[in-house]
């Protein structure tokens, strides 16, 4: 692999050890015409930290995720990211080429609908190998070995490597998406409702896998979910959004066990207990 980014240390220090934040958002605001999508959001994310953004539909969670991942341009505010060379840079100042390289090496994006995050007409191996080829890997045997290794890590049988994701179940597709994203050892992964539309036992396995990979690679994760159980299981910190604004944030246990805002109290009390 010839990309300079990949030659930097792969595993960031554990939580707490790195004092410099990985990702900083300052006053992020996005308007859709006259309507507010997301207003004046500030956050910092440290290496290895998992941040959950919760809230009901239309509260601006996905807009915020889009802004953080540079898929949307902010109306105001900025996002800073600490590159692998240690320099913290304003993402808007990156060139298109640098931004794309960042997206496919140091970042990952796991989407709710696997069809949006995968190439459905390309085999599982091709899906996993795409990032490697994009950063210059030109050896078929090595790409394939890496793909088989990653399919194993996400519990997909190696013999399915040449099947395309259309033949995969929903849970397998999500796991394939994760493998495809993690193959370049990113430091930051965005997840948009990764467990949406999966039945509970499959959800549980997927969450288990995500938790294990997060710990193994020291990933920093921003996860958007409306499922508070997912937030409790995965995240260290939580941000509650309503009508485009962050109304409450803190440690996950603290916010979920002792919600301060009436809206958060409503959210927490709305969870059904079987």
């Amino acid at each position: 692999m010839n990309a300079p980014l990949l030659n930097a240390p792969l595993f960031p220090a554990a939580v707490g050890a790195a004092d410099t934040p990985l990702l900083i958002a300052e006053g992020l605001t996005r308007y859709y015409g006259a309507r507010l999508g997301c207003g004046d959001v500030n956050l910092t994310l440290h290496p290895g930290e998992v941040l959950a953004i919760v809230g009901e539909s239309g509260s601006g969670k996905s807009t915020l995720l889009g802004l953080l991942s540079t898929e949307l341009a902010p109306s105001a505010g900025r996002v800073l990211y600490r590159m692998r060379d240690g320099a913290t840079r304003d993402l808007e100042a990156l060139t298109e080429g640098e931004r794309r390289l960042l997206l496919r090496t140091d970042w990952g994006f796991v989407r709710q609908h696997a069809e949006q995050g995968l190439r459905m007409a390309v085999s599982a191996g091709g899906n996993v190998g795409e990032r490697l080829m994009a950063v210059g890997e030109r050896h078929y045997g090595r790409i394939r070995a890496e793909a088989i290794d990653w399919l194993g890590r996400v519990e997909i049988a190696a013999e399915r490597i040449d099947d395309d994701p259309r033949t995969f179940s929903g849970g397998m597709r999500q796991r394939l998406q994760i493998a495809r994203n993690l193959v370049t050892r990113p430091r930051l992964v965005f997840m948009d409702e990764p467990t949406g539309g999966l039945d509970v036992s499959v959800q549980a396995r997927l969450l288990d896998l995500i938790r294990q990979l997060v710990a193994e690679f020291g990933l920093a994760v921003v996860i958007v979910t409306h499922d508070l159980a997912v937030a409790r299981l995965l995240s260290h910190r939580i941000m509650v959004m309503k009508s485009g604004h962050v109304i409450e944030e803190g440690l996950t246990d603290q916010v979920l066990d002792d919600p301060r805002e009436p809206y958060t109290q409503l959210l927490v009390s709305s969870v059904l207990m079987p």
Binding site: G97, R100, G125, R131, M133
Partner: protein, 326 residues
Amino acid sequence: MTAETVTTPAPNGAEPPAIRYNFAYLDEQTKRMIRRAILKAIAIPGYQVPFAGREMPMPYGWGTGGVQVTAAILGACDVLKVIDQGSDDTTNAVAIRSFFETTAGVATTTRTADATVIQTRHRIPETPLKAGQVLVFQVPIPEPLRFLEPRETETRRLHGLGDYGLIHVKLYEDIARHGHIATTYAYPVTVNGRYVMDPSPIPKFDNPKMHMSPALQLFGAGREKRIYAVPPFTPVVPLDFEDHPFAVQHFAEPCALCGGQGVYLDEVILDDAGGRMFVCSDTDYCATRQGEGHTGRMSAPYAAPPATAATGAEPPIAASGSGDRP
């Protein structure tokens, strides 16, 4: 190249000409516009230059792009050769050749060595090209990323950033499914170390001929309205993997008519009992060799036919050439 007018010769030579065309059909302003696009294309090897393609008196898919490029570069003293899949005498080649005979009055030839401008559909002649010759390709789909990325805005961005990982995904899929790179025509190439280019649907057999060719190579896509070019002596490198390097097709037997080897052969089915022959796809090359006295297995006059052939029991000839041909 002056703005002279060429008149259609009347059938019996006595009647006044019915239609008067500008030299090479297109008007001078259009030719200027196309030449500008060609100059830009030569300046940026492999880059697809948009141009205001005109309606030509033939359907899209019949070489409208190539014809416009040829019309723009043709001069009164040029000698034109037109081939279609290597052949000088198929419909497309005959029609385009007579089109320029009528509208430009230029000399035409079938001999590769004598031509100054060669318009081609899907082949590069076997006879090596010389400096000063221009090869004009007819291109159906100029975008090598088209079937991987449908959005034109996105493919242009990918070209701009030199972001070509996607095309290797396609080659990866080929190897995963077939055990080797199964793309046999329109095989993507990197031009001058920068742009990835679709060489038009020539067999990959012809790709090495593009590399460092002394001739100028121009590509015209009429429907998509794009022109691109490979200037003389420009490196043209096919994409591949380190452990699956690019390789051309090989044929197990020589041409049945001229005995030529190391050339691209067409398979011709002779009967419904498995009889077939392989002949040069380049008719000029084959005819030249036959004129020099070379013969193949089925050259006329036939040698006394073996007894098995008379009964139709001759075993089919094995050939390792890929059946997937443009």
